[in-house]
Amino acid sequence: MSKILTQIVTQRGYLYLLKKLAAFMVLFILFDFIIGSFFRYLYFRQTSGWEFRTKYSVEDTRADILIFGASRAQQQYNPIFFEERLHQTCYNVGRDGQPIFYYYGILNGVLRRYSPKMIFLDIENGVFNSEQSSYDRIGVLLPFYKTHAEMRQVIELKSPYEKMKLQSSIYPFNSLLFKIAVGNTKFNKNRNEDIKGYIPLSGELHEPIRTVSFLNQHVLDTNKINVYRSFINDCIKHHIKLYIVCSPYYMKTIGTDTSISIAKKIAHENNVDFIDYSKDELFLTNSTLFDDTVHVNVAGARIFSNKLIDNILVKE
């Protein structure tokens, strides 16, 4: 080893390279820090858009009731009805296209600050299916890695090298340049209606109901199942009343989705209420309550939200 080191130190070429590499690294680290800090500043001062919603969910909301899930949470649970009828504040932290890793990351961020009184977790068909894209999508939580130690465990699931990549100050903002820029303007506010996190859909579906088979088994992701268990355990630990909900679909099914069966079983094991609206006749017979087969529209969201609240009021 010492021979090698002597060789490195004495040969001009090596020394020259090391000096140049060091100078290059200094330059790069400086750029990385300055530009990364600038993006961090812009990211956390956004006032609208998807990234703002995530930031608001992790760092700002103090609502008594939180609604977790993907697009089916974001577009189907109207917080206004929950606030009016349950007399508690409510915010919908759902985000389009996000897997269960995201919900758990957000929950960790929230629990660092306070414990909500009630949480609704929307679970959809295939929620535990193994898909690489679910890990890629953890990327939206990268900006919180540096300042939110409680979210790191989830973020590091993204890839084995994530910890190393996150040494860069710029990397957390990968592919967010445009969104951050727009999030600092009023553009999103003028474009999308955002009612305490709920985004209403205005379309109306006019097509016959189709049948979907769940007889083919999908490969399941144990990481997702473990994160789901952790989500339930953390809620129980913090004395949060948790309701796991499968919201309405406009489709008939043959068999039951494996993910839903597992989610139900784990919920029952932990004495958590699992409320299933996926086979609710009112929705199965009324396509006009849907924007597409998996998302209810604004009228459907009103009916569904109130139906769910009725159910909760009966239970309580």
């Binding site: 090698i4 060789q7 040969q11 070429g13 090596y14 020259y16 390279l17 140049k20 100078a23 290059f24 330059l27 790069f28 750029f31 990385d32 530009i35 690489q132 890629d136 084995p160 090298y161 190393m164 990549k165 860069s168 710029i170 990397y171 903002f173 990968n174 592919s175 340049l177 445009f178 969104k179």
Partner: protein, 476 residues
């Protein structure tokens, strides 16, 4: 192991460091072992196929050199049959069988030959062609037989160009493994810079465009003409940046260790004709076909109809080389037709240009030439990208309706795509037309030069797609 992975980053640093620390006579062994590891990181068992072709061609080379007369030809044919045979079994067997079934079905018969359930070994066409070039060159007397088995194996397996080229010739590469390369920091920097530019092309341009292209081409029936038109143009840039990005990383990685690999791309998007395009695109394959297929068939020194046929045959085989699918054969056919058509119409086009007076305005003429060539090549790539002929036909039909609004799954994707293309074109135009004028990448001042490369790395981190996956040409 993908060039755009952390796995490769560690591999490259360790191998390069060890390479310079080892004495010259042991370096070949390090490179051979590391190349084996590199290849086995994909599907380990396929190294046996590579091993088989290496053994066959190694001995074929020796036998060819030792033999005389017809025996030389016999050993060459044995080697070619072994190489092409492997290619046929792993790449074309199911394709041939499928078409045979289709043919029998036409006569109301059933095909009794079973399909094989095998994965195509990564980069099979690349290293098979490289191996074949060795035995052909030995047969022609242009290359002496390599008696050192390890060095010959390294010629076929040299990791930077093992899975996607450039397809090297023995005259260029073999002797370099015997040459002693002392550590040269300038060369190391030069190689690293080429690698950074290659990574930029792959991660920032190709994989970004790939998101939009995949979204459109994976669901053709749902897309409108304008979306497919944009996706097709994007694909043209994507495939260029993906493949030339790989070549740049390969050339750069080899350069760091002292090896010079052949140039594989010379700004093909700025070609003025389809003929010129093929002199700039995938040069190592184009010259392979020229040297080992086109010229032996007589090239252009035959009757005119035969010349046209030679061109068509080369391009049809080139299409088949890319993949066992009719879409690739049609793609090759279209490109062959372009060349034949260009030759046939040369006289009339010259007259037309004189008549319109465009030749008096060279810049405008150049712009038209480049644009038309780009559009022609892009059109042929509809077949290259489509999953099957029916998809390709549907894409063409829809494009020519010029209807619909552009699919936009988030404005950011489109903006990033246009930024990526703008950046690429700026660099390519500068290199093509303003070479030697103001430059950042080769600026005299160390800090300016390095700021430029820091900026490129920052753009990679900021805009690169890190989950994009493998290179398009790996499948060939």
């Amino acid at each position: 192991m993908l060039f755009n992975s952390f796995h490769f980053l560690f591999f490259f640093v360790i191998v390069t460091t060890l390479y310079f620390l080892l004495p010259h006579n042991r370096r070949w062994l390090l490179l051979l072992l590391s190349s084996c590891y590199f290849y086995m990181a994909f599907v380990p068992v396929y190294i046996l196929i590579l091993g088989f072709t290496i053994v066959v061609d190694y001995f074929a080379g020796i036998f060819i050199e030792n033999a005389a007369g017809k025996k030389r030809k016999f050993f060459l044919v044995c080697s070619l049959v072994a190489n092409i045979g492997i290619l046929c079994v792993f790449k074309y067997y199911n394709f041939i069988n499928e078409n045979f079934s289709f043919l029998l079905h036409g006569f109301g018969l059933t095909n009794p030959i079973p399909y094989l359930s095998i994965l195509l070994p990564i980069g099979l066409s690349f290293h098979t062609f490289q191996a074949m070039s060795y035995t052909i060159e030995v047969y022609r007397g242009h290359q002496k037989t390599e008696r050192h088995f390890g060095i010959y194996a390294l010629y076929v397996m040299f990791y930077p160009q093992l899975v996607a080229g450039p397809i090297e010739r023995p005259q260029n590469l073999l002797h370099q493994f015997r040459q002693q390369y002392d550590f040269d920091s300038d060369r190391v920097f030069e190689g690293l810079k080429i690698m950074i530019w290659g990574l930029f092309k792959k991660l920032v341009i190709a994989d970004r465009l790939g998101i939009y292209v995949s979204g459109a081409y994976n669901n053709v029936p749902e897309q409108n003409g304008m979306t497919l038109l944009l996706a097709t143009i994007f694909f043209s840039f994507q495939v260029y940046c993906d493949f030339s990005g790989y070549s740049d990383i390969a050339i750069g990685a080899a350069k760091v260790m002292g090896f010079d690999l052949m140039t594989n791309f010379r700004r093909p998007i700025l070609a003025k004709s389809t003929g010129e395009f093929w002199q700039r695109w995938h040069i190592s394959l184009s010259t392979w076909f020229k040297d080992y297929l086109y010229f032996p068939m007589g090239g252009s020194r035959v009757s005119v109809p035969r010349w046209y046929m030679n061109l068509m045959v080369v391009f049809l085989i080139s299409g088949l080389w890319h993949g066992a699918n009719w879409t690739y054969i049609i793609w090759g056919g279209i490109n062959g037709f372009y060349l034949v058509f260009a030759i046939v119409t040369q006289k009339y086009r010259d007259r037309f240009n004189q008549f319109t007076g465009i030749v008096k305005r060279p810049r405008l003429h150049l712009f038209f030439q480049i644009s038309i060539t780009f559009l022609l090549i892009t059109f042929s790539r509809i077949f290259f990208r489509s999953r099957n002929i029916s998809d390709a036909v549907q894409v063409i039909k829809k494009i020519f309706t010029f209807k619909g609004s552009i699919f936009n799954d988030g404005t950011a994707i489109i903006i990033y795509c246009f930024f990526a293309i703008f950046f690429l074109l700026s660099v390519e135009l500068k290199k093509e037309f303003y070479r030697g004028s103001f430059t950042l990448s080769r600026h005299k001042n160390f800090w300016v030069r390095n700021s430029y490369y820091s900026f490129l790395i920052i753009l990679i981190i900021l805009l690169g797609v890190f989950d994009g996956g493998q290179f398009i040409y790996f499948q060939f």
